[in-house]
Protein backbone atom coordinates (compact mmCIF):
# COMPACT_ATOMS: atom_id res chain seq x y z
CA UNK A 1 0.00 0.00 0.00
CA UNK A 2 1.24 3.47 -0.83
CA UNK A 3 2.78 5.35 2.09
CA UNK A 4 0.77 8.44 1.10
CA UNK A 5 -2.52 6.53 1.48
CA UNK A 6 -1.48 5.24 4.89
CA UNK A 7 -0.52 8.73 6.02
CA UNK A 8 -3.85 10.16 4.86
CA UNK A 9 -5.65 7.49 6.87
CA UNK A 10 -3.55 7.85 10.01
CA UNK A 11 -5.29 9.23 13.11
CA UNK A 12 -3.20 11.36 15.46
CA UNK A 13 -3.89 10.11 19.01
CA UNK A 14 -2.72 13.44 20.45
CA UNK A 15 -5.01 15.58 18.24
CA UNK A 16 -7.82 17.45 20.01
CA UNK A 17 -10.01 17.26 16.88
CA UNK A 18 -12.16 14.11 16.95
CA UNK A 19 -11.65 11.85 13.87
CA UNK A 20 -15.24 12.56 12.81
CA UNK A 21 -14.45 16.26 12.37
CA UNK A 22 -11.18 15.97 10.43
CA UNK A 23 -13.08 15.68 7.12
CA UNK A 24 -16.30 17.59 7.96
CA UNK A 25 -17.52 17.54 4.36
CA UNK A 26 -17.28 13.74 4.07
CA UNK A 27 -20.39 11.57 4.54
CA UNK A 28 -20.61 9.30 7.59
CA UNK A 29 -20.26 6.15 5.43
CA UNK A 30 -19.47 5.70 1.75
CA UNK A 31 -19.16 2.39 -0.12
CA UNK A 32 -17.50 2.57 -3.55
CA UNK A 33 -17.87 -0.49 -5.80
CA UNK A 34 -17.35 -2.90 -2.90
CA UNK A 35 -17.05 -6.60 -3.66
CA UNK A 36 -16.39 -9.36 -1.14
CA UNK A 37 -16.66 -13.14 -1.18
CA UNK A 38 -15.95 -16.07 1.11
CA UNK A 39 -14.50 -19.43 0.04
CA UNK A 40 -14.46 -18.15 -3.54
CA UNK A 41 -18.24 -17.50 -3.43
CA UNK A 42 -19.17 -13.85 -4.06
CA UNK A 43 -21.39 -12.39 -1.30
CA UNK A 44 -21.51 -8.70 -2.22
CA UNK A 45 -20.80 -7.40 -5.72
CA UNK A 46 -20.14 -3.82 -6.75
CA UNK A 47 -21.99 -2.17 -3.85
CA UNK A 48 -22.03 1.64 -3.77
CA UNK A 49 -24.03 3.86 -1.43
CA UNK A 50 -23.71 6.67 1.11
CA UNK A 51 -24.96 7.43 4.60
CA UNK A 52 -24.95 11.21 5.01
CA UNK A 53 -24.27 12.80 8.38
CA UNK A 54 -27.37 12.72 10.56
CA UNK A 55 -29.08 10.28 8.22
CA UNK A 56 -30.55 6.88 9.14
CA UNK A 57 -30.39 4.22 6.45
CA UNK A 58 -32.28 0.97 6.78
CA UNK A 59 -30.70 -1.97 5.02
CA UNK A 60 -33.29 -4.57 4.08
CA UNK A 61 -32.91 -7.92 2.44
CA UNK A 62 -33.62 -11.63 2.83
CA UNK A 63 -31.67 -13.60 5.45
CA UNK A 64 -28.14 -14.59 4.41
CA UNK A 65 -27.83 -11.98 1.67
CA UNK A 66 -24.80 -10.25 3.25
CA UNK A 67 -26.37 -7.46 5.33
CA UNK A 68 -24.24 -8.15 8.41
CA UNK A 69 -21.15 -8.39 6.18
CA UNK A 70 -21.87 -4.82 5.04
CA UNK A 71 -21.86 -3.60 8.65
CA UNK A 72 -18.60 -5.43 9.34
CA UNK A 73 -17.12 -3.78 6.25
CA UNK A 74 -18.32 -0.40 7.50
CA UNK A 75 -16.46 -0.66 10.80
CA UNK A 76 -13.41 -2.33 9.28
CA UNK A 77 -13.93 -5.77 10.86
CA UNK A 78 -13.77 -7.15 7.30
CA UNK A 79 -11.80 -5.87 4.30
CA UNK A 80 -13.36 -5.88 0.82
CA UNK A 81 -11.80 -7.94 -1.98
CA UNK A 82 -12.14 -4.85 -4.16
CA UNK A 83 -13.62 -1.38 -3.86
CA UNK A 84 -13.29 1.14 -1.06
CA UNK A 85 -15.14 1.86 2.18
CA UNK A 86 -14.97 5.30 3.77
CA UNK A 87 -16.14 6.30 7.25
CA UNK A 88 -16.05 10.02 8.08
CA UNK A 89 -13.63 10.46 5.16
CA UNK A 90 -11.17 7.79 6.32
CA UNK A 91 -10.72 4.82 4.04
CA UNK A 92 -11.33 2.00 6.54
CA UNK A 93 -10.58 -0.60 3.87
CA UNK A 94 -6.98 0.69 3.73
CA UNK A 95 -6.36 1.67 7.36
CA UNK A 96 -3.84 0.25 9.76
CA UNK A 97 -5.49 -1.74 12.55
CA UNK A 98 -4.16 0.73 15.14
CA UNK A 99 -5.84 3.71 13.41
CA UNK A 100 -9.01 1.67 12.99
CA UNK A 101 -9.20 1.16 16.76
CA UNK A 102 -9.09 4.95 17.21
CA UNK A 103 -11.74 5.56 14.55
CA UNK A 104 -14.00 2.91 16.10
CA UNK A 105 -14.15 5.01 19.26
CA UNK A 106 -16.55 7.20 17.24
CA UNK A 107 -18.64 4.27 16.03
CA UNK A 108 -21.18 2.40 18.13
CA UNK A 109 -22.08 -1.13 17.04
CA UNK A 110 -25.02 -3.22 18.20
CA UNK A 111 -24.40 -6.85 17.28
CA UNK A 112 -27.03 -9.35 16.19
CA UNK A 113 -27.12 -11.26 19.48
CA UNK A 114 -25.88 -8.36 21.60
CA UNK A 115 -22.36 -9.83 21.92
CA UNK A 116 -22.13 -8.74 25.55
CA UNK A 117 -19.03 -9.88 27.46
CA UNK A 118 -20.51 -12.72 29.48
CA UNK A 119 -17.92 -12.58 32.27
CA UNK A 120 -18.52 -8.87 32.95
CA UNK A 121 -21.45 -7.25 34.74
CA UNK A 122 -23.85 -4.94 32.90
CA UNK A 123 -22.00 -1.96 34.43
CA UNK A 124 -18.63 -3.22 33.16
CA UNK A 125 -20.07 -4.11 29.75
CA UNK A 126 -21.61 -0.69 29.22
CA UNK A 127 -18.57 1.07 30.68
CA UNK A 128 -16.02 -1.09 28.82
CA UNK A 129 -14.91 1.66 26.43
CA UNK A 130 -14.71 4.20 29.27
CA UNK A 131 -12.61 1.80 31.39
CA UNK A 132 -10.24 1.37 28.45
CA UNK A 133 -9.91 5.15 28.25
CA UNK A 134 -9.05 5.24 32.00
CA UNK A 135 -12.03 7.45 32.80
CA UNK A 136 -12.38 7.83 36.62
CA UNK A 137 -14.74 5.32 38.26
CA UNK A 138 -17.25 7.96 39.42
CA UNK A 139 -17.51 9.33 35.88
CA UNK A 140 -17.95 5.78 34.48
CA UNK A 141 -20.75 5.12 36.99
CA UNK A 142 -22.47 8.36 36.06
CA UNK A 143 -22.29 7.77 32.30
CA UNK A 144 -23.23 4.10 32.55
CA UNK A 145 -26.27 5.06 34.66
CA UNK A 146 -27.21 7.67 32.08
CA UNK A 147 -26.93 5.16 29.20
CA UNK A 148 -28.85 2.51 31.12
CA UNK A 149 -31.53 5.04 32.03
CA UNK A 150 -31.90 5.74 28.29
CA UNK A 151 -32.74 2.06 27.71
CA UNK A 152 -34.70 1.89 31.00
CA UNK A 153 -32.45 -0.72 32.59
CA UNK A 154 -30.77 1.28 35.33
CA UNK A 155 -31.60 -1.41 37.91
CA UNK A 156 -29.51 -4.07 36.14
CA UNK A 157 -26.06 -2.52 36.81
CA UNK A 158 -24.75 -5.42 38.92
CA UNK A 159 -26.32 -8.24 36.93
CA UNK A 160 -24.47 -10.52 34.49
CA UNK A 161 -25.74 -10.89 30.89
CA UNK A 162 -26.84 -14.48 31.60
CA UNK A 163 -29.29 -13.12 34.19
CA UNK A 164 -31.06 -10.94 31.59
CA UNK A 165 -33.74 -11.77 29.03
CA UNK A 166 -32.96 -11.59 25.28
CA UNK A 167 -34.65 -8.20 24.94
CA UNK A 168 -32.83 -6.80 27.96
CA UNK A 169 -29.50 -7.97 26.54
CA UNK A 170 -30.19 -6.08 23.29
CA UNK A 171 -31.06 -2.98 25.29
CA UNK A 172 -27.81 -3.28 27.25
CA UNK A 173 -26.00 -3.67 23.90
CA UNK A 174 -27.62 -0.41 22.74
CA UNK A 175 -26.56 1.28 25.99
CA UNK A 176 -22.98 0.03 25.44
CA UNK A 177 -23.01 1.37 21.88
CA UNK A 178 -24.25 4.85 22.84
CA UNK A 179 -22.36 5.41 26.10
CA UNK A 180 -19.51 7.24 24.33
CA UNK A 181 -22.01 9.29 22.29
CA UNK A 182 -20.74 8.01 18.92
CA UNK A 183 -21.32 9.94 15.71
CA UNK A 184 -22.24 6.75 13.82
CA UNK A 185 -24.32 3.79 14.99
CA UNK A 186 -24.38 0.43 13.27
CA UNK A 187 -27.29 -1.82 14.25
CA UNK A 188 -27.13 -5.45 13.16
CA UNK A 189 -30.66 -6.90 13.32
CA UNK A 190 -31.37 -5.41 16.75
CA UNK A 191 -34.81 -7.06 16.87
CA UNK A 192 -33.88 -10.45 15.39
CA UNK A 193 -35.38 -13.35 17.34
CA UNK A 194 -37.40 -11.13 19.69
CA UNK A 195 -41.14 -11.11 20.31
CA UNK A 196 -43.18 -8.25 18.73
CA UNK A 197 -43.59 -6.28 21.97
CA UNK A 198 -39.86 -6.38 22.79
CA UNK A 199 -39.04 -5.57 19.15
CA UNK A 200 -41.21 -2.45 19.38
CA UNK A 201 -39.36 -1.42 22.56
CA UNK A 202 -36.02 -1.81 20.77
CA UNK A 203 -37.17 0.14 17.69
CA UNK A 204 -38.50 2.85 20.00
CA UNK A 205 -35.00 3.13 21.46
CA UNK A 206 -33.48 3.35 17.98
CA UNK A 207 -35.95 6.12 17.07
CA UNK A 208 -35.23 7.87 20.38
CA UNK A 209 -31.50 7.70 19.70
CA UNK A 210 -32.00 8.97 16.12
CA UNK A 211 -34.15 11.93 17.15
CA UNK A 212 -32.31 12.83 20.37
CA UNK A 213 -28.65 12.48 19.40
CA UNK A 214 -29.08 13.11 15.65
CA UNK A 215 -26.25 10.63 15.00
CA UNK A 216 -25.90 8.88 11.65
CA UNK A 217 -26.96 5.27 11.61
CA UNK A 218 -27.08 2.21 9.42
CA UNK A 219 -29.59 -0.37 10.56
CA UNK A 220 -29.78 -3.89 9.21
CA UNK A 221 -33.05 -5.78 9.47
CA UNK A 222 -35.17 -8.27 7.60
CA UNK A 223 -38.32 -7.24 9.48
CA UNK A 224 -40.34 -4.83 7.35
CA UNK A 225 -42.59 -3.77 10.23
CA UNK A 226 -39.52 -2.49 12.12
CA UNK A 227 -38.26 -0.64 9.06
CA UNK A 228 -41.58 1.09 8.41
CA UNK A 229 -42.01 1.94 12.07
CA UNK A 230 -38.66 3.75 11.91
CA UNK A 231 -39.77 5.68 8.84
CA UNK A 232 -43.22 6.61 10.12
CA UNK A 233 -42.57 7.45 13.77
CA UNK A 234 -40.69 10.07 15.71
CA UNK A 235 -39.69 10.54 19.33
CA UNK A 236 -41.46 13.24 21.30
CA UNK A 237 -38.96 14.62 23.79
CA UNK A 238 -41.68 16.35 25.83
CA UNK A 239 -43.82 13.28 26.44
CA UNK A 240 -40.73 11.00 26.33
CA UNK A 241 -42.65 8.67 24.03
CA UNK A 242 -42.62 7.48 20.45
CA UNK A 243 -45.50 8.76 18.32
CA UNK A 244 -46.72 8.31 14.76
CA UNK A 245 -46.00 10.98 12.22
CA UNK A 246 -49.11 12.54 10.60
CA UNK A 247 -50.67 10.42 7.85
CA UNK A 248 -48.58 10.12 4.64
CA UNK A 249 -45.61 11.76 6.32
CA UNK A 250 -42.35 9.96 6.78
CA UNK A 251 -39.15 10.87 8.57
CA UNK A 252 -37.05 12.77 6.00
CA UNK A 253 -33.74 11.60 7.45
CA UNK A 254 -34.67 7.90 7.16
CA UNK A 255 -34.24 6.09 3.85
CA UNK A 256 -33.84 2.56 2.54
CA UNK A 257 -31.38 0.22 0.88
CA UNK A 258 -32.39 -3.24 -0.33
CA UNK A 259 -29.92 -6.00 -0.96
CA UNK A 260 -30.75 -8.96 -3.18
CA UNK A 261 -28.50 -11.67 -4.59
CA UNK A 262 -25.31 -9.80 -3.70
CA UNK A 263 -26.36 -6.52 -5.32
CA UNK A 264 -28.05 -3.34 -4.18
CA UNK A 265 -31.47 -3.32 -5.90
CA UNK A 266 -32.88 -0.25 -4.19
CA UNK A 267 -31.48 2.98 -2.77
CA UNK A 268 -34.04 5.64 -1.99
CA UNK A 269 -36.70 7.20 0.23
CA UNK A 270 -39.71 5.56 1.87
CA UNK A 271 -41.94 7.10 -0.79
CA UNK A 272 -39.80 5.66 -3.61
CA UNK A 273 -39.81 2.27 -1.92
CA UNK A 274 -43.57 1.94 -1.56
CA UNK A 275 -44.10 3.17 -5.14
CA UNK A 276 -41.40 1.02 -6.73
CA UNK A 277 -42.35 -0.97 -9.83
CA UNK A 278 -39.56 -3.49 -9.39
CA UNK A 279 -41.21 -6.93 -9.16
CA UNK A 280 -38.77 -8.15 -6.47
CA UNK A 281 -39.29 -5.06 -4.30
CA UNK A 282 -43.05 -5.17 -4.77
CA UNK A 283 -43.07 -8.82 -3.75
CA UNK A 284 -40.69 -8.19 -0.85
CA UNK A 285 -42.65 -5.36 0.76
CA UNK A 286 -46.12 -6.75 0.07
Amino acid sequence: MATRELAANAIDPESSTPPTEVHPEAPAVRFEHVTIGFDEKPVLENISFEVKRGETRILLGPAGVGKSVMLKLANGLLKPDSGRVFVFGYEVSAMREEDLFRLRESIGTVFQEGALFDSLTVRDNVGFRLTEEHVPDEEIDRRVSEALRFVELEHTMTKFPSELSGGMRRRVAIARAIVTRPALLLYDSPTGGLDPITSTTIIELVIKQRDVSLASSLLVTHRLQDAFMLATHRFNKETNQMESLPARQTDPSTSFLILHQGGLVFDGSTHDLVHSDDPFIKGYIS
Partner: protein, 259 residues
Protein backbone atom coordinates in the same frame (compact mmCIF):
# COMPACT_ATOMS: atom_id res chain seq x y z
CA UNK B 1 -7.71 -34.89 -7.66
CA UNK B 2 -5.18 -36.17 -5.12
CA UNK B 3 -2.79 -33.41 -6.16
CA UNK B 4 -5.48 -30.77 -5.68
CA UNK B 5 -6.20 -32.11 -2.19
CA UNK B 6 -2.48 -32.12 -1.38
CA UNK B 7 -2.14 -28.63 -2.76
CA UNK B 8 -5.06 -27.35 -0.67
CA UNK B 9 -3.74 -29.08 2.47
CA UNK B 10 -0.27 -27.58 1.95
CA UNK B 11 -1.77 -24.11 1.49
CA UNK B 12 -3.84 -24.53 4.67
CA UNK B 13 -0.73 -25.63 6.57
CA UNK B 14 1.38 -22.73 5.36
CA UNK B 15 -1.45 -20.27 6.09
CA UNK B 16 -1.84 -21.67 9.61
CA UNK B 17 1.90 -21.28 10.31
CA UNK B 18 1.80 -17.75 8.90
CA UNK B 19 -1.23 -16.80 11.02
CA UNK B 20 0.30 -18.36 14.14
CA UNK B 21 3.57 -16.45 13.58
CA UNK B 22 1.70 -13.18 13.01
CA UNK B 23 -0.42 -13.66 16.13
CA UNK B 24 2.65 -14.42 18.26
CA UNK B 25 4.67 -11.52 16.83
CA UNK B 26 1.84 -8.99 17.19
CA UNK B 27 1.06 -10.12 20.73
CA UNK B 28 4.73 -9.76 21.70
CA UNK B 29 5.05 -6.38 19.98
CA UNK B 30 2.03 -5.25 22.02
CA UNK B 31 4.11 -5.75 25.15
CA UNK B 32 5.91 -2.50 24.27
CA UNK B 33 2.85 -0.53 23.16
CA UNK B 34 0.36 1.41 25.25
CA UNK B 35 -2.01 0.71 26.91
CA UNK B 36 -0.20 -1.86 29.04
CA UNK B 37 -2.59 -4.36 30.60
CA UNK B 38 -0.66 -5.01 33.84
CA UNK B 39 -3.77 -5.90 35.85
CA UNK B 40 -4.79 -8.48 33.23
CA UNK B 41 -1.30 -10.05 33.39
CA UNK B 42 -1.62 -10.41 37.18
CA UNK B 43 -5.13 -11.89 36.89
CA UNK B 44 -3.91 -14.40 34.31
CA UNK B 45 -0.80 -15.20 36.37
CA UNK B 46 -3.07 -16.00 39.30
CA UNK B 47 -5.37 -18.20 37.20
CA UNK B 48 -2.58 -19.96 35.31
CA UNK B 49 0.16 -20.10 37.96
CA UNK B 50 -1.59 -20.37 41.30
CA UNK B 51 -4.44 -22.36 39.75
CA UNK B 52 -2.03 -24.95 38.35
CA UNK B 53 -0.04 -25.30 41.56
CA UNK B 54 -1.95 -28.29 43.02
CA UNK B 55 -1.61 -30.45 39.86
CA UNK B 56 2.02 -29.45 39.41
CA UNK B 57 2.88 -30.31 43.03
CA UNK B 58 1.09 -33.67 42.88
CA UNK B 59 2.62 -34.58 39.50
CA UNK B 60 6.11 -33.55 40.60
CA UNK B 61 5.93 -35.42 43.90
CA UNK B 62 4.76 -38.72 42.46
CA UNK B 63 7.07 -38.50 39.43
CA UNK B 64 10.07 -38.05 41.74
CA UNK B 65 8.80 -40.92 43.89
CA UNK B 66 8.29 -43.37 41.04
CA UNK B 67 11.65 -42.40 39.54
CA UNK B 68 13.41 -43.29 42.79
CA UNK B 69 11.40 -46.50 43.10
CA UNK B 70 12.12 -47.73 39.56
CA UNK B 71 15.76 -46.63 39.34
CA UNK B 72 16.83 -47.86 42.80
CA UNK B 73 16.29 -51.54 41.96
CA UNK B 74 18.23 -51.26 38.66
CA UNK B 75 21.02 -49.24 40.27
CA UNK B 76 21.23 -51.81 43.08
CA UNK B 77 22.16 -54.50 40.51
CA UNK B 78 25.36 -52.52 39.82
CA UNK B 79 25.89 -51.64 43.47
CA UNK B 80 25.03 -48.02 42.73
CA UNK B 81 21.85 -47.57 44.79
CA UNK B 82 23.60 -44.70 46.57
CA UNK B 83 23.30 -42.48 43.49
CA UNK B 84 19.50 -42.67 43.41
CA UNK B 85 19.33 -39.02 44.50
CA UNK B 86 21.65 -38.01 41.67
CA UNK B 87 19.49 -39.78 39.08
CA UNK B 88 16.27 -38.32 40.45
CA UNK B 89 17.59 -34.75 40.62
CA UNK B 90 19.19 -34.78 37.16
CA UNK B 91 16.13 -36.37 35.56
CA UNK B 92 13.73 -34.01 37.30
CA UNK B 93 15.67 -30.79 36.73
CA UNK B 94 16.79 -31.41 33.14
CA UNK B 95 13.79 -33.22 31.68
CA UNK B 96 10.84 -34.40 33.70
CA UNK B 97 10.28 -31.22 35.72
CA UNK B 98 9.98 -28.88 32.72
CA UNK B 99 8.28 -31.36 30.38
CA UNK B 100 5.73 -32.85 32.77
CA UNK B 101 4.89 -29.46 34.27
CA UNK B 102 4.40 -28.06 30.76
CA UNK B 103 2.20 -30.98 29.73
CA UNK B 104 0.05 -30.57 32.85
CA UNK B 105 -0.19 -26.79 32.40
CA UNK B 106 -0.93 -27.33 28.71
CA UNK B 107 -3.76 -29.74 29.51
CA UNK B 108 -5.24 -27.28 31.97
CA UNK B 109 -4.51 -23.90 30.40
CA UNK B 110 -4.05 -24.29 26.62
CA UNK B 111 -7.49 -25.91 26.62
CA UNK B 112 -8.84 -23.18 28.91
CA UNK B 113 -7.51 -20.41 26.69
CA UNK B 114 -8.76 -22.06 23.49
CA UNK B 115 -12.25 -22.63 24.91
CA UNK B 116 -12.53 -19.19 26.52
CA UNK B 117 -11.35 -17.26 23.46
CA UNK B 118 -13.18 -19.69 21.16
CA UNK B 119 -16.48 -19.06 22.96
CA UNK B 120 -15.84 -15.33 22.69
CA UNK B 121 -15.18 -15.74 18.95
CA UNK B 122 -18.36 -17.66 18.18
CA UNK B 123 -20.53 -15.31 20.23
CA UNK B 124 -19.00 -12.27 18.45
CA UNK B 125 -17.49 -10.95 21.71
CA UNK B 126 -14.08 -10.62 20.03
CA UNK B 127 -15.65 -8.64 17.17
CA UNK B 128 -17.49 -6.54 19.77
CA UNK B 129 -14.19 -5.84 21.52
CA UNK B 130 -12.60 -4.74 18.23
CA UNK B 131 -15.69 -2.67 17.42
CA UNK B 132 -15.32 -0.97 20.81
CA UNK B 133 -11.81 0.11 19.82
CA UNK B 134 -9.84 -2.44 21.88
CA UNK B 135 -7.25 -4.72 20.32
CA UNK B 136 -8.01 -8.29 21.48
CA UNK B 137 -4.39 -9.29 20.84
CA UNK B 138 -3.34 -6.63 23.35
CA UNK B 139 -6.13 -7.16 25.87
CA UNK B 140 -6.54 -10.95 25.72
CA UNK B 141 -3.52 -12.61 24.08
CA UNK B 142 -0.52 -10.62 25.35
CA UNK B 143 -1.40 -10.97 29.08
CA UNK B 144 -1.88 -14.74 28.66
CA UNK B 145 1.50 -15.16 26.95
CA UNK B 146 3.40 -13.07 29.51
CA UNK B 147 1.65 -14.70 32.48
CA UNK B 148 2.19 -18.25 31.17
CA UNK B 149 5.89 -17.70 30.42
CA UNK B 150 6.56 -16.19 33.87
CA UNK B 151 4.48 -18.71 35.80
CA UNK B 152 5.88 -21.73 33.89
CA UNK B 153 9.35 -20.70 35.06
CA UNK B 154 8.30 -20.72 38.73
CA UNK B 155 6.03 -23.76 38.45
CA UNK B 156 8.94 -25.75 37.03
CA UNK B 157 11.14 -24.77 39.98
CA UNK B 158 8.36 -25.90 42.35
CA UNK B 159 7.92 -29.14 40.41
CA UNK B 160 11.70 -29.84 40.50
CA UNK B 161 11.88 -29.22 44.24
CA UNK B 162 8.80 -31.29 45.04
CA UNK B 163 9.99 -34.08 42.70
CA UNK B 164 13.32 -34.33 44.53
CA UNK B 165 11.41 -34.41 47.83
CA UNK B 166 9.12 -37.14 46.46
CA UNK B 167 12.17 -39.15 45.42
CA UNK B 168 13.63 -38.62 48.89
CA UNK B 169 10.43 -39.74 50.60
CA UNK B 170 10.41 -42.90 48.52
CA UNK B 171 14.15 -43.59 48.90
CA UNK B 172 14.15 -43.01 52.65
CA UNK B 173 10.80 -44.41 53.79
CA UNK B 174 10.25 -47.23 51.27
CA UNK B 175 13.76 -48.24 50.22
CA UNK B 176 15.50 -47.53 53.53
CA UNK B 177 18.22 -45.31 52.07
CA UNK B 178 20.04 -42.69 54.08
CA UNK B 179 18.47 -39.24 53.70
CA UNK B 180 21.71 -37.24 54.02
CA UNK B 181 23.36 -39.44 51.39
CA UNK B 182 20.37 -38.90 49.07
CA UNK B 183 20.44 -35.12 49.40
CA UNK B 184 24.25 -35.03 49.26
CA UNK B 185 24.40 -36.89 45.91
CA UNK B 186 21.48 -34.80 44.66
CA UNK B 187 23.31 -31.56 45.39
CA UNK B 188 26.79 -32.74 44.37
CA UNK B 189 25.74 -33.98 40.94
CA UNK B 190 24.10 -30.73 39.81
CA UNK B 191 26.05 -28.34 37.59
CA UNK B 192 25.31 -24.88 36.28
CA UNK B 193 24.55 -26.33 32.82
CA UNK B 194 21.88 -28.65 34.25
CA UNK B 195 20.11 -25.81 36.04
CA UNK B 196 20.31 -23.61 32.93
CA UNK B 197 18.84 -26.36 30.78
CA UNK B 198 16.01 -26.89 33.25
CA UNK B 199 15.17 -23.21 33.49
CA UNK B 200 15.42 -22.27 29.80
CA UNK B 201 12.97 -24.95 28.70
CA UNK B 202 9.89 -23.73 30.61
CA UNK B 203 10.24 -20.29 29.03
CA UNK B 204 9.87 -21.81 25.56
CA UNK B 205 7.18 -24.23 26.72
CA UNK B 206 5.17 -21.44 28.36
CA UNK B 207 5.31 -19.49 25.12
CA UNK B 208 4.12 -22.54 23.16
CA UNK B 209 1.23 -23.25 25.55
CA UNK B 210 -0.11 -19.69 25.51
CA UNK B 211 0.36 -18.94 21.82
CA UNK B 212 -1.11 -22.26 20.67
CA UNK B 213 -4.05 -21.95 23.09
CA UNK B 214 -4.74 -18.38 21.95
CA UNK B 215 -4.19 -19.19 18.26
CA UNK B 216 -6.77 -21.98 18.26
CA UNK B 217 -9.13 -19.88 20.37
CA UNK B 218 -8.90 -16.86 18.09
CA UNK B 219 -9.42 -19.02 14.99
CA UNK B 220 -12.47 -20.90 16.25
CA UNK B 221 -15.29 -21.30 13.75
CA UNK B 222 -18.52 -23.25 13.89
CA UNK B 223 -20.33 -22.78 17.20
CA UNK B 224 -19.97 -25.00 20.24
CA UNK B 225 -18.66 -27.90 18.14
CA UNK B 226 -15.93 -25.59 16.88
CA UNK B 227 -15.02 -24.61 20.45
CA UNK B 228 -14.65 -28.30 21.37
CA UNK B 229 -12.49 -28.91 18.29
CA UNK B 230 -10.26 -25.92 19.08
CA UNK B 231 -9.82 -27.06 22.67
CA UNK B 232 -8.74 -30.55 21.64
CA UNK B 233 -6.42 -29.27 18.92
CA UNK B 234 -4.81 -26.78 21.30
CA UNK B 235 -3.92 -29.49 23.82
CA UNK B 236 -2.73 -31.98 21.19
CA UNK B 237 -0.63 -29.51 19.20
CA UNK B 238 0.90 -27.81 22.26
CA UNK B 239 1.78 -31.20 23.83
CA UNK B 240 3.46 -32.47 20.66
CA UNK B 241 5.28 -29.16 20.16
CA UNK B 242 6.51 -29.21 23.78
CA UNK B 243 8.02 -32.68 23.36
CA UNK B 244 9.55 -31.84 19.96
CA UNK B 245 10.94 -28.53 21.23
CA UNK B 246 12.33 -30.30 24.30
CA UNK B 247 14.41 -32.49 22.00
CA UNK B 248 15.71 -29.50 20.04
CA UNK B 249 16.57 -27.47 23.15
CA UNK B 250 18.23 -30.48 24.82
CA UNK B 251 20.37 -31.09 21.74
CA UNK B 252 21.33 -27.42 21.59
CA UNK B 253 22.14 -27.17 25.30
CA UNK B 254 24.17 -30.37 25.29
CA UNK B 255 26.08 -28.99 22.32
CA UNK B 256 26.59 -25.70 24.15
CA UNK B 257 27.51 -26.94 27.63
CA UNK B 258 28.77 -30.44 26.81
CA UNK B 259 26.38 -32.22 29.18
Amino acid sequence: MALTTLDAAAKRGVTAVQEYSLLSARALANLFRRPFYGADIITQADMIGVGSLPIVVLTGFFTGGVLALQSASTLAQFGAAAVTGQLVSLSMIKELGPVLTSLMVSGRNASGMASELGSMMVTEQIDAMRALGTDPLKKLVMPRIVATVIMMFFLTIVSDAVGILGGAACAVFLLGQDSSQYFHTTYQSLHYADIMQGLVKPIFFGFIIATIGCYYGMNTRGGTQGVGRSTTQAVVVSSVLIIATDFVISRFMIGLFGR
